[in-house]
């Protein structure tokens, strides 16, 4: 008599667990206990069932987690790298972004307004965001002028990434000129006095 009763209770509990499992599996959203309770029917101790189910899944590839007051199946966090391997996609940085980065590097600390003044064009917010995302720039101090604009400076990661020891190693304008990076595109090669091509270095 008692045996029969326990078996029945047992079977009902097992069936509740099955249904709970299926409901949580099929739902696109985490489910709260009230919703689950309504689906299981009266007399189901949803909380206890959920705890039992979570126990069963503990340590498995899929785990039952509580998200706020709601419950959901999730793949085990430690498996994430195996499920979603990281893949690096190489992309070109826009010219505007490279130039902005260069100006921050050379003029830091520099506010966005100043960058725009130097570049002569508006800087989209996305550009600074992008550079910050790459951890190349970070906000510096606010400038103590009206409006207290935020300034931008380069990070250590910037030095690291570009193989610089310090900002002092950034080539100066004269170095750039000497390296031919300020050369105008050759147009008319007018013979100037002293016509030597390398005379510019002196200026």
């Amino acid at each position: 008599m008692i045996d029969h009763g326990t078996t029945e209770v047992h079977a009902e509990r097992a069936q509740h667990l099955r249904l709970l499992e299926a409901l949580l599996f099929a739902s696109a959203e985490p489910l709260d206990e009230a919703t689950l309770g309504a689906r299981l029917g009266q007399g189901a101790d949803v909380r206890a069932l959920l705890v039992e189910l979570a126990d069963r899944y503990a340590g498995r590839g899929v785990v039952l987690v509580r998200v706020g007051k709601r419950w959901a199946f999730r793949t085990a966090p430690d498996l994430a790298p195996r499920l979603r391997p990281r893949e690096e996609v190489s992309r070109k940085l826009s010219r505007a972004a490279i130039e902005t980065l260069a100006i921050i590097a050379y003029h830091q600390p520099v506010s966005r307004g100043e960058i725009e003044g130097i570049r002569g064009v508006a800087t989209s917010k996305g550009t600074l965001d992008l550079l910050m995302e790459q951890n190349w720039i970070k906000p510096g101090r606010r400038r103590e002028v009206p409006g207290r604009p935020l300034t931008w400076i380069t990070t250590d990661h910037f030095l690291d990434h570009f193989g610089l020891n310090s900002l002092r190693d950034l080539p100066g304008v004269a170095d750039l000129r000497a390296a031919g990076m300020l050369d105008p595109r050759p147009m008319l090669d007018l013979p100037q006095a002293g016509g030597g091509k390398d005379g510019e270095g002196a200026s």
Partner: protein, 274 residues
């Protein structure tokens, strides 16, 4: 068609009289075969034991009745009626001896029976298929699949050179934006003419052209333009008969002097053009 009605009058069909309901449902049938299958079911026997002859009669009756009630009846039904009338005749008449390849009445009847059985079988199969637990209705997939696509991290392909170059380009633009084009400092033909005419009066004898050049060795461009302008100016003066030119050989110095007022001896006359 006449055959159909004739048969319908000659042989009373043993089957049930065409029901009004069936007539009304005519639009619901998907063609003659569908109708035949429905009629066959009316025989209430296993389709494998169906009497094709009886079925043909039922169909012909039906078509005849339908044509009495409604004049228009799709051509397919009439074609089928004609075919069944033919089949019926083949079934009732003794098989002719000389048919050769043509299928006999029994063969045609069994082919039609098979066709009906198969269609019935497919209908049942369709119903059983749809009774299966269906995904999204009875059985569910994971509601919130995490997905297995690789997580993409963007790596920007920028070298230090790119940064420097960008700055250099920026600097250059900055410089060129304030650049004013300076006039070229050239020695003009007019300058040379006035200078030559000025000096010429005081010349006693042959002098080299280069001694007329202004002293501008600090500016190569101006020096060269002075040479060109002075030479052009002397040519002008030669043309005007005020100066004589002489050159003793290719690339040799060019000599000039004031022209004598119409004297013969001018050894350089022809050379002056050189």
């Amino acid at each position: 068609m006449t055959a159909g009605s004739t048969f319908a009058e000659d042989v009373r069909p043993p089957g049930p009289v065409v029901s009004e309901q069936l007539l009304l449902a005519l639009d619901g049938f998907e063609g003659p075969i569908d109708l035949l299958l429905t009629l066959a079911r009316d025989q209430k026997v296993d389709l494998t034991h169906i009497s094709i002859l009886q079925l043909a009669n039922q169909y012909l009756d039906f078509v005849a009745a339908a044509r009495r009630v409604r004049i228009e009846l799709a051509a397919d039904y009439l074609v089928m009626a004609a075919w069944l009338a033919y089949l019926k005749s083949r079934l009732l008449l003794p098989e002719p001896e000389d048919v050769g390849d043509e299928p006999g009445g029994a063969e045609l009847a069994s082919a039609l029976a098979f066709q009906l059985q198969r269609l019935e079988a497919m209908r049942e199969a369709g119903a059983r298929l749809l009774a299966l637990p269906q995904l999204g209705r009875d059985v569910f997939a994971r509601g919130a699949p995490e997905g297995l696509e690789a997580e993409q991290t963007t790596v920007f392909d920028v070298t230090f050179y790119d940064v420097l170059k960008a700055y250099g380009e920026h600097k250059r633009r900055e410089e060129t934006s304030t650049l004013t084009i300076q006039p070229l400092d050239l020695y003009s033909l007019e300058d040379a003419l006035s200078r030559l005419s000025h000096i010429l009066g005081s010349l006693p004898d042959w002098v080299t052209l280069s001694s007329f050049l202004p002293d501008r060795s600090d500016n190569l461009l101006r020096g060269r333009s002075a040479l060109a302008a002075t030479f052009a100016a002397t040519l002008e003066l030669v043309k005007a008969g005020q100066v004589e030119l002489r050159q003793d050989g290719a690339f040799a110095p060019i000599w000039l002097r004031r022209a004598a007022p119409r004297e013969g001896a001018a050894p350089s006359d022809c050379e002056g053009a050189a």
